[in-house]
């Protein structure tokens, strides 16, 4: 079963053709890595799946509904690359506000603070936190409503290795609990942690398959090389 179906999606942003005839499926209860260089269309694709991107043509279906349907606002969590939280409030105040909007149970704020390891810093204004800490507040906000689909745009950028590992463990736990995750990254070393990979470049999908299969089909030993083989094959 696929949580997300994208068919022949075309998006034009300003003068750039951001996505060209993109089709893909994001399998349910799995971690799908969306990999590609900066400017390849990862964010645009994620925005289209969340339903905040104006599209030119094509169809995006999320959890059985057209992307952007009002019913999905409780079921899809989206974390933008730049942390989208209120800098002048504390982490706790931010989460308190967002939890009221999604109608999260009392005590949920405490749980997500623990999940992203921010309990200790929760009473400091978000502005005074480091970039990595701010992005964890942003991630925590998306976890509040226990979404069925989590769309995370480069959630581990700038994090220290220990924390990165912990977050990936959290992602794994969420997937084991039934959630579907779509995680973008421009670093290949995170690809190993995904169940499924989607490689994107210049607004086109180069390949979609599990990591091991990708190595086999490209006859390469690591994913960086596999990506290169695919790029050269495509041009």
């Amino acid at each position: 079963m696929a949580a997300v179906h994208v068919r022949e999606l075309d998006v034009v942003r300003g003068s750039t053709h951001a996505l060209r005839a993109v089709s893909l499926e994001v399998p349910e209860s799995r971690i799908t890595g969306l990999l590609g260089p900066s400017g390849s269309g990862k964010t645009t694709l994620m925005r289209a799946i969340v339903g905040v991107q104006l599209i030119r043509s094509g169809a995006v279906e999320v959890l059985g509904l057209p992307a952007g349907s009002p019913e999905l606002r409780r079921r899809v969590g989206y974390v933008t690359q730049a942390p989208s939280v209120y800098g002048d409030l504390t982490a706790r105040e931010n989460l308190d506000y967002f939890s009221r909007i999604v109608g999260a149970a009392p005590g949920r704020v405490e749980e997500v603070l623990e999940t992203v390891d921010l309990v200790r810093l929760s009473r400091r204004s978000v502005r005074s936190l480091s970039e990595g800490e701010r992005s964890r507040v942003s991630l925590a906000a998306a976890l509040l409503g226990r979404p069925d689909l989590l769309v995370l745009d480069e959630p581990t950028v700038g994090l220290d290795p220990v924390l990165r590992r912990d977050l990936w463990n959290t992602f794994r736990r969420l997937a084991e609990g039934g959630a579907t995750l779509l995680v973008s990254s421009h670093v290949m070393d995170e690809a190993d942690r995904c169940d499924e990979l989607v490689l994107i470049r210049d607004g086109r999908i180069l390949a979609q398959s599990p990591p091991a299969e990708l190595l086999r089909s490209t006859r390469t030993a690591d994913l960086e090389d596999a990506f290169l083989v695919l790029i050269e094959g495509a041009s």
């Binding site: 991107q53 989208s84 209120y86 009221r100």
Partner: protein, 244 residues
């Protein structure tokens, strides 16, 4: 629409303001100071201050709320929090009503402080009711807020948002009848003044200060609130769930 979410939004906006004591101080201290300045600028012609001082109590909230809301909403757009809110189960009305509640509350406090200074310390007389002046001041603040929310959609930076203040507000301030009676302006300007909301805001305030006809005060307040609702509807239209 959810009352719960509206109140949560109002609380959030107020918490943000509380984190910025300098802005709050400016909001509460600047109007009484300006009013004091007016008094001594018109030292040689106290009858002018007596005429414009009372209505000014209700005009300051309009100007200040315009600036504060347009910048608050602009920040909401530029930091991505608006996009986040638009992906959540929050209706646009919840957001706008939350803003209205929070800024209406701040405006009420501001108007009370300014009124206390004006009618207490500065010796301005009010033939009507001070409570009505304060009530009209809150209406005007909501009008400023609604126009500010709408204007913020056209600003790409805080610098631009600040520039909207002279563009949107100053012409209305000049034409509303406060400085010069409208029937003494060039006829074209007088006609234009009829369609500007601040004209009606001033009209109501002036009548309230002079103890004028309650029905006419209510008519002016009604016009101000109708324009406020219109501006809020336009502001809601600028909150897009999908963007290019």
């Amino acid at each position: 629409m959810s009352v719960h979410v509206t109140f949560a939004t109002a609380l959030r906006v107020l918490r943000q303001l509380r984190r910025d004591p300098r802005t709050l101080a400016l909001v509460f201290v600047v109007p009484p100071l300006l009013l004091t300045l007016f008094k001594y600028v018109f030292y040689g012609q106290p009858e002018t201050f007596d005429r414009i001082g009372g209505p000014l109590v209700g005009i300051f909230p309009f100007v200040l709320m315009f600036v504060i809301t347009s910048i608050t909403m602009l920040r909401e757009r530029t930091t991505g929090t608006l996009e986040r809110l638009m992906t959540l189960p929050l209706s646009k009305l919840d957001l706008l009503a939350g803003y209205a509640l929070a800024f209406g509350f701040v405006a009420a406090v501001q108007a009370c402080i300014t009124a206390a200074v004006a009618f207490g310390l500065l010796g301005l007389d009010v033939a009507g009711s001070v409570a009505v002046v304060v009530l009209l001041a809150v209406c005007n603040a909501l009008l400023g807020m609604a126009l500010g929310l709408f204007a913020s959609a056209f600003a790409q930076s805080e610098f631009q948002a600040v520039q909207f203040m002279p563009a949107f507000v100053l012409p209305q301030f000049l034409l509303c009848g406060l400085l010069v009676a409208r029937d003494r302006m060039a006829p074209l300007l007088e006609w234009i003044s009829y369609v500007l909301p601040l004209t009606w805001a001033y009209d109501g305030l002036q009548r309230a200060v002079d103890g004028g006809d309650a029905a006419l005060i209510a008519r002016s307040a009604g016009i101000v609130l109708a324009v406020t609702v219109l501006a809020l509807a336009l502001a809601a239209a600028t909150l897009r769930r999908r963007t290019p």
